[in-house]
């Protein structure tokens, strides 16, 4: 009796879900729903999974396949999650607060950072545990560097501008003095 309880509960929930989908057909468009429901599974099983297996086997030719595969998996995950934002079909001319960022550039940057991490790990060829720590370390230190640079820039923006103007002034003075000498 108790052993069957989860099966009964599970079947009941499935029934509730399917029933709700049929009862609210004006919202759920059951045929369209079914196409998408089965469609995502078919796309995964027939296209996506073979594509991943193919990429993984291509990575087998690399010097350290596990590291390259890990890099591909992480970069691939970021790509999938970012893709709708990169394509940005959701953007609306009347609402600039929707999808406000340069997602293509951000994604390329992330892929670049992951690639750099893979290259670093491959070059030094440490054992696997160390390799993972290195990847994490590289990512953390890149983030830290950007944070620190950002903080310094925002704090010293004024001084940097001042320095830039000073250098510009110096260059102008030098150029003028050279011109004066040559005449």
């Amino acid at each position: 009796m108790w052993r069957r309880l989860p099966y009964v509960a599970g079947a009941a929930l499935i029934g509730v879900g399917l029933g709700g989908l049929v009862l609210h057909s004006s919202d759920t468009h059951p045929v369209g729903w079914l196409i998408w429901f089965a469609g995502v599974a078919v796309v995964h099983d027939a296209l996506f999974a073979p594509f991943v297996l193919g990429m993984a086997s291509l990575a087998g030719r690399a010097p350290r396949p596990p590291v390259v595969r890990a890099g591909l998996a992480v970069a691939g995950a970021a790509t999938i999650v970012a893709l709708p934002a990169v394509l940005a079909y959701g953007r609306r001319p009347d609402n600039p607060s929707v999808l406000p960022q340069a997602y293509g550039l951000h994604l390329v940057t992330i892929i670049g950072v992951v690639t750099a991490a893979v290259v670093v790990v491959n070059a030094y060829a440490p054992p696997m545990g160390k390799a993972i720590l290195t990847v994490v370390g590289v990512l953390l230190s890149i983030w830290l560097i950007f944070m620190v640079i950002g903080m310094i820039i925002s704090a010293l923006k004024f001084l940097i501008w001042l320095g830039f103007l000073a250098v510009l002034g110096a260059v102008i003075v030098i150029v003028i003095s050279k011109m004066a000498k040559s005449t």
Partner: protein, 379 residues
């Protein structure tokens, strides 16, 4: 007699002959599948629970009353729902990769029970992918499907969770067997680290749209908390709602009241002004704090004379749309933080934020923070 499940190794071998090559990795094994399964079970349970919270906050059944505190409860549950959902995408793909050889097991169906089991697995796989794909599209405001997202996502959740319960019960013995033996071997550890890294990267680059301390890292988030009209994101603009700047705005209070009221903007400004700091917490997962100023909803309702247990419908100048009006239950309209806001971040509301008057209340989904308010109807 119950048939024993085919060991994965045999499934792998069968798979190899079936598809021709591949599936040689040790990672297509029961232990990896069980560990990823536990994490997916946790993640989908969290998503189901937080999703139900969001649904019933928007469609409260007559017997249930939601609290107006803690202020950030909905912000927490919905942020968790969306960010956990996004981070689950790599996790689900890793799990499907691990068990992929079983898709090609031969013969495909061995008995009626086996067929039923595979049917449930199909509901689980297709449903999980469906939920994550439609959810990902929805938070990016992209609707290429023919159904209304909210309704389809809600009912499909029951199918997925039901299938998950059955699947978890079927696999429980395996999971328990795997749980007592520690995971070792460099390739397994590396695999788990990769999956964790992918999930972590997704969470880190999106969580900042609701969790302010990570704001600077939210490079893949569809929203940035400070970006928008008056430094606050907008979901529905005045243009898309078909609302124009009113020339002679009035707020009416009607229904079950002792005296009906018609208030001008000057009348509202003459009432006690209160300033509150409350977040807009959207169903799409983003949230952002803002400073609002205006009159307390309860002050306006008490001026009209309403019963303590009355429910109030707040109506908008927006003529069409599912969210043109919202219901405010007693806990929310009694709350001192619930305002009919006239100002946002120190300025009069912009048109896109509901000029001249909008509702803002604690612990409430953004779509129910009705904008361009014109009428309060007491029920």
């Amino acid at each position: 007699m119950l048939r024993r499940a085919v060991p994965l190794t045999r499934a792998v071998r069968d798979g190899m002959t079936r598809v021709g090559g591949g599936f040689t990795s040790r990672l297509h094994d029961e232990r990896v599948a069980a560990s990823l399964g536990i994490w997916l079970g946790i993640s989908f349970t969290v998503a189901f629970a937080t999703g139900l919270v969001s649904h019933f906050m928007q469609h409260p059944p007559s017997w249930a009353v939601w609290p107006s505190r803690p202020v950030g409860l909905y912000r927490l549950t919905q942020g968790t729902h969306v960010i956990c959902g996004l981070a689950t995408i790599p996790l689900l793909l890793a799990k499907l990769w691990t068990v992929y050889p079983r898709l090609w097991q031969w013969p495909p169906i061995r008995s009626l029970a086996h067929a039923a089991r595979r049917g449930v697995v199909f509901l689980l796989v297709a449903g999980s992918l469906f939920q994550l794909v439609t959810g990902l599209f929805n938070v990016n405001y992209w609707y290429p499907f023919p159904f209304f997202f909210t309704t389809a996502h809600y009912w499909t959740a029951y199918v997925v969770f039901g299938a998950l319960i059955i699947h978890a019960t079927d696999e429980w013995a395996k999971v328990r067997r795997q749980a007592v033996t520690p995971v070792h071997g460099p390739s397994r550890r590396g695999f788990f680290a990769t999956v964790a890294g992918a999930c972590g990267l997704v969470a880190l680059t999106t969580a900042g749209e609701t969790f302010t301390p990570l704001g600077g890292l939210a490079v893949l988030a569809p929203r940035r908390p400070g970006v928008g009209s008056q430094r606050l994101p907008v979901n529905k603009t005045a243009l898309s709602a078909g609302v124009a700047r009113p020339a002679n705005w009035r707020l009416t209070v009607t229904g079950a009241v002792e005296r009906e009221l018609t208030l001008s903007l000057a009348d509202l400004r003459a009432m006690p002004r209160h300033v509150v700091r409350l977040p807009i917490a959207c169903v799409e997962g983003w949230s952002a704090d803002a400073t609002w100023a205006g009159v307390r909803l309860r002050d306006v309702l008490r001026a009209a004379g309403v019963a303590r247990h009355a429910r109030v419908r707040v109506e908008s100048a927006q003529r069409n749309g599912r969210y043109r009006a919202s219901q405010v239950d007693p806990p929310h309209w009694h709350d001192e933080l619930t305002l009919l806001a006239l100002e946002l971040n120190g300025e009069p509301l912009s048109m896109d934020h509901g000029y001249p008057c909008r509702l803002i209340a604690p612990d409430r989904p953004g779509v129910l923070q009705t904008k361009w308010v014109t009428a309060l109807v007491v029920e």
